[in-house]
């Protein structure tokens, strides 16, 4: 096996890694914002908004990402909207992630008891304040692990964007393979990079979860304090 042929292409590989990280970062950020907006819309606006959001979520969750990507890349130009591979990838990933994240955040929101919201309103908090402090923040803290694994899955699914000629990590792999004819070595190297990326992302999201939601509840705070005392 000759890994040096593959490893000598490290500037290309590095660029691919960068693009994979950038794509995932943009899609995760935009997708999360969109999902939060859809969750808020679902609970604040009338039932029609709920139906629209539900239909969107079901549609995205029950069709392959590749079909969504091709619909945007090949289908939209027919309607006069022309996007390049990178734009189409970002749009498809964002829309896809938003649907899954909406479903996950909804589960978190459903776990907030009615009495919490009533208590917030009784303290003269506005509708928005209740939504932010009483509903969304605790809901996010509860579903953060589920969201994290969805983010990792999205990062791995970004490999599919190579089908619309985006030179992210797996697109780069295809080019290196054609240049060097070292298929096995190329895919081993790229797979190991994906593995490292996924594990790092998992660790980073864990750390971020602890930073963003330091204490989940008063009870957790209490047990932690006692733990320190002992």
């Amino acid at each position: 096996m000759l890994f040096q042929d593959v490893l000598s292409k490290w500037p290309m590989i590095l660029h691919g890694v960068w693009l994979t990280i950038a794509l995932s970062f943009v899609a995760i950020t935009l997708g999360l914002v969109l999902a939060t907006a859809m969750t808020a819309l679902r609970s604040l606006a009338g039932s029609w908004a709920g139906y629209v959001v539900d239909a969107y979520v079901e549609l995205m969750r029950n069709t392959p990402f590749l079909v969504q990507l091709f619909m945007i890349f090949f289908g939209l130009p027919q309607l006069g909207i022309r996007l390049n591979g990178l734009e189409a990838s970002i749009l498809a990933m964002t829309l896809n992630l938003a649907a899954y994240a909406t479903e996950i955040i909804r589960a978190g929101v459903d776990s907030i008891h009615r009495s919490q919201i009533e208590a917030g309103l009784a303290l003269a908090m506005s509708k928005w304040q209740v939504l932010k402090h009483v509903v969304l923040q605790p809901a996010f803290a509860r579903v953060w692990p589920a969201l994290s694994s969805q983010f990792v899955l999205m990062m791995l699914a970004s490999s599919i964007c190579s089908f619309v000629s985006v030179q992210e990590l797996s697109g780069t792999a295809a080019i290196i393979e054609q240049d060097t004819f070292r298929s096995f070595e190329t895919y081993i190297v790229v797979t190991v990079i994906y593995l490292v990326l996924a594990l790092s992302l998992k660790l980073f999201l864990n750390w971020l979860g602890h930073k963003l939601f330091p204490q989940v509840s008063g009870l957790a705070r209490l047990t932690e304090a006692h733990g320190e005392a002992a």
């Binding site: 392959p64 969504q68 996924a198």
Partner: protein, 217 residues
């Protein structure tokens, strides 16, 4: 230039059969492997446990696409030529095995510990404990997430078109290359995937409700 009409639509419909066949094969082989890994993951032998969790972690942390590329292009570079259908089934089975192993491990672990103790007190062997006490209960618990995962599998079969296997996705692409009516074609392709996945999603949710009802007693 060809236009998108009934013959093309029929071709796409027929290729959906290959998507279903691939799903069935990957699910069948994947569940045998996955079951083995789930039990290894819970074994009392430390290296078996380590090996199974390492396998699950690695497969869950790499794209299915890389598994597919390795079993198709990678192996052929080493002189082992797998036909597209075999490479696709093999890589999807590997993917399925890692996810099912994790789902089923969770299900087995959620059977109360007292059940193990009760079985041991009846002088059951480990195999008998699994067969008569643990698995019948674990299977019930695992049903909703397993059906839910089946939806992921159906959707993920769409990537095997890259090795030239004509499944539903590939059929759509071939027709698109001939007619350039991508919007109509991928609407149809998406609708067929939806028609397969949506009932499964609903079934999964329904099973979850039924199971929860029986557990709350």
């Amino acid at each position: 230039m060809q236009t998108f009409g009934w013959p093309e639509a029929l071709f796409i419909f027929r290729s959906a059969g290959w998507t279903l066949a691939l799903t069935a094969i990957a699910f069948f082989i994947g569940s045998i492997l996955g079951g083995a890994f789930a039990i290894m993951r819970l074994s009392r032998v430390r290296w078996l446990r380590r090996f199974a969790s390492g396998y699950i972690l690695v497969i869950q942390s790499i794209p299915v696409l890389m598994v597919l590329f390795m079993s198709y292009y990678g192996l052929s570079a080493l002189g082992i030529e797998l036909p597209p259908f075999l490479a696709a089934s093999a890589s999807l089975s590997i993917y399925v095995s890692a996810y099912l192993a994790e789902i089923w491990r969770g299900s087995i672990e959620s059977v109360p510990r007292q059940q193990w103790e009760a079985s041991a007190s009846l002088a059951h062997t480990t195999a008998q404990t699994y067969r008569y006490v643990i698995l019948p209960q674990a299977v019930r618990i695992s049903l909703p997430p397993t059906v839910g995962f089946l939806v992921q599998l159906v959707k993920n079969t769409s990537i095997v078109q890259v090795v030239g296997f004509v499944d539903l996705m590939r059929a759509g692409m071939l027709v698109n290359n001939a007619t350039y009516q991508a919007f109509q074609i991928f609407t149809l392709v998406g609708a067929i995937y939806f028609a397969i996945c949506f009932p499964l999603s609903r079934l999964s949710r329904h099973l979850e409700k039924v199971m929860n009802a029986s557990r709350s007693h």
